[in-house]
């Protein structure tokens, strides 16, 4: 059998904020179409890990590779990488002065220089996929949090990224809206989207994840298939976390 090459390779990633060490050497291989769910207590470095991958934070050590190609942390190189790695944030971060459809069109047209006639049908299709085609001409302030987050997901997808990063995307939503967003993400997973998901939604992680990574204090404590990490965790620290979290 031919050896599968990872889409994204994180090697010995280290990050400090001043004297505060957030990541102490993290290694992850993400394969194409794989859904990785990262769980762990607050302060464990989960979000920082995602932010380092697409260069929103500089790194202090280690490397990140996409398709065997090392990511250089220079502005122009990062611009290229960010077109291949999409990110969805906890606070949605839609552009408030643009309508929903304008939010979707901006980056493909300005960054990828694609024609509006080509992007528009795709953007509308993605809005339909997240169930918000009727909101295309609304402004973000006219939408609920859950709706805004689904638009934010569509905005990332319209760039045709190879990997999508989700940073606690349901944490700012009220419980009733969480389901809508998680359903969209499940749908993406079933379509074979490569995803790295940081979440506190344990049930969702168990359902959707191909692999679960438990992080604590800047290191990976344990990883494996959901039935093992959730059902029969090998590390005491994982057991302790899950007892409190579930």
């Amino acid at each position: 059998m031919e050896e599968r090459k990872p889409k994204l390779s994180i090697r010995n990633l280290q990050k400090q904020f001043g004297d505060n060490t957030i990541l102490r050497g993290v290694d992850i291989d993400v394969y194409s179409q794989e859904v990785i769910v990262i769980i762990g207590p607050s302060g464990s470095g989960k979000s920082t890990l995602l932010r380092c991958i697409n260069g929103l934070e500089s790194i202090n050590g280690g490397e990140v590779y996409i398709d065997d190609c090392k990511i250089e942390y220079t502005p122009s190189a990062l611009q290229q990488v960010r077109q291949r790695i999409g990110m969805v944030f906890q606070s949605y971060n839609l552009f408030p002065h643009l309508t929903v459809i304008e939010n979707l069109l901006l980056a493909p047209m300005k960054v990828q220089k694609r024609a509006k006639s080509e992007v528009l049908p795709q953007a509308r299709e993605l809005l339909e996929q997240v169930g918000l085609l009727d909101k295309a001409d609304s402004y973000p302030a006219q939408l609920s949090g859950g709706q805004q987050q689904r638009v934010a997901i569509a905005r990332s997808l319209v760039m045709n990224p190879e990997v999508l990063l989700f940073d606690e995307v349901t944490s700012a939503l009220d419980p009733e809206r969480v389901r809508d967003v998680l359903d969209v993400m499940k749908d993406l997973a079933s379509r074979g989207t490569t995803m790295l998901i940081v979440t506190h939604e344990m049930g969702f992680g168990r359902d959707v994840g191909d692999r679960i990574i438990f992080m604590d204090q800047g290191v990976i404590v344990e990883q494996g298939p959901p039935e093992v990490v959730f059902g029969n965790p090998q590390e005491e620290r994982t057991r302790q976390f899950l007892r409190n979290a579930m």
């Binding site: 904020f17 505060n20 957030i22 207590p41 607050s42 302060g43 464990s44 470095g45 989960k46 979000s47 920082t48 697409n54 260069g55 929103l56 502005p75 990062l78 611009q79 290229q80 960010r82 077109q83 999409g86 990110m87 944030f89 906890q90 606070s91 971060n93 839609l94 552009f95 408030p96 002065h97 901006l106 980056a107 300005k110 960054v111 990828q112 402004y139 302030a141 006219q142 905005r155 990332s156 760039m159 700012a172």
Partner: protein
């Protein structure tokens, strides 16, 4: 003492030519103030080295010295360096520099208030720094600080009266000029005060209309101004370490 209405009617056409000049100088000066102010604000928000410090010096210099001194310097001082400008040109330059310095402060309030999370969201979509500036920071910062800028614009109009001192034939100059001949002092001064008042009210109304047009939040909630709500809604903290 009697108030000579007939005299006012007679001199009104003359005053209106002055008003035209006031409008001419003001419109250009407000336009240039806007450009200078936005440029200065973006430079300071992005903390571009050297340029950023130059903007600070410029803003400080202009704001802490009298406008009349700027006008005299440009009109009487520059010829010593071989630069001779017409009075109208000096008027527009002096008012633009003055308005630009205040506008830079106005707009910096706005560009600084653009949540960092939105800048990151632009970065994560692969937008370049300049694309983030032109598509996110400027349009949002402009909307947030527009009410403050409209005050500066009104001040630019009022300060155009200083150009009387170098003989620009604007509204105040026309009135003062007539006073020297006919000694109808309070008729003239009251009349131009009323004309200025109407001009300023008109300008404020116009800026108010633009402000409402720019306010995308108003399209949903009645009376919810952009300033508070946009920052509250989108100003969620972006720097997280977990």
């Amino acid at each position: 003492m009697s108030f000579d209405f007939g005299y006012i009617i007679d001199t009104l056409p003359l005053l209106l030519t002055g008003l035209k000049m006031t409008l001419f100088i003001s419109v250009f000066s407000i336009l240039f103030s806007l450009i200078i102010g936005m440029g200065g604000a973006v430079i300071r928000t992005l903390k571009i080295p050297v340029l950023s410090q130059l903007v600070v010096v410029y803003v400080d210099l202009i704001r802490n010295t009298p406008l009349l001194v700027h006008v005299f310097f440009l009109y009487f001082g520059l010829p010593a360096f071989g630069i001779k400008l017409s009075a109208v040109a000096v008027g527009i330059i002096a008012l633009s520099l003055w308005g630009g310095a205040f506008a830079a402060e106005n707009f910096r309030g706005g560009t600084d208030a653009v949540p960092h999370a939105l800048i990151e969201s632009g970065q994560s979509l692969g937008l370049s720094t300049w694309q983030i500036v032109s598509h996110v920071i400027i349009p949002l910062g402009f909307r947030i600080s527009f009410p403050a800028f409209s005050n500066t614009a009104v001040s630019v109009i009022k300060n155009s009266a200083y150009m009387t001192s170098i003989g620009v034939a604007e509204l105040t100059f026309m009135a003062v000029d007539r006073m020297a001949y006919d000694f109808k002092t309070y008729e003239m001064l009251l009349t131009i005060a009323v004309i200025y008042l109407i001009l300023i009210w008109g300008t404020s109304y116009l800026f108010g209309r633009i402000e409402r047009k720019l306010d995308f939040n108003n399209k949903t909630k009645k009376g919810s101004g952009l300033n508070g709500s946009v920052i509250k809604k989108f100003g969620l903290s972006s720097r997280r370490t977990d």
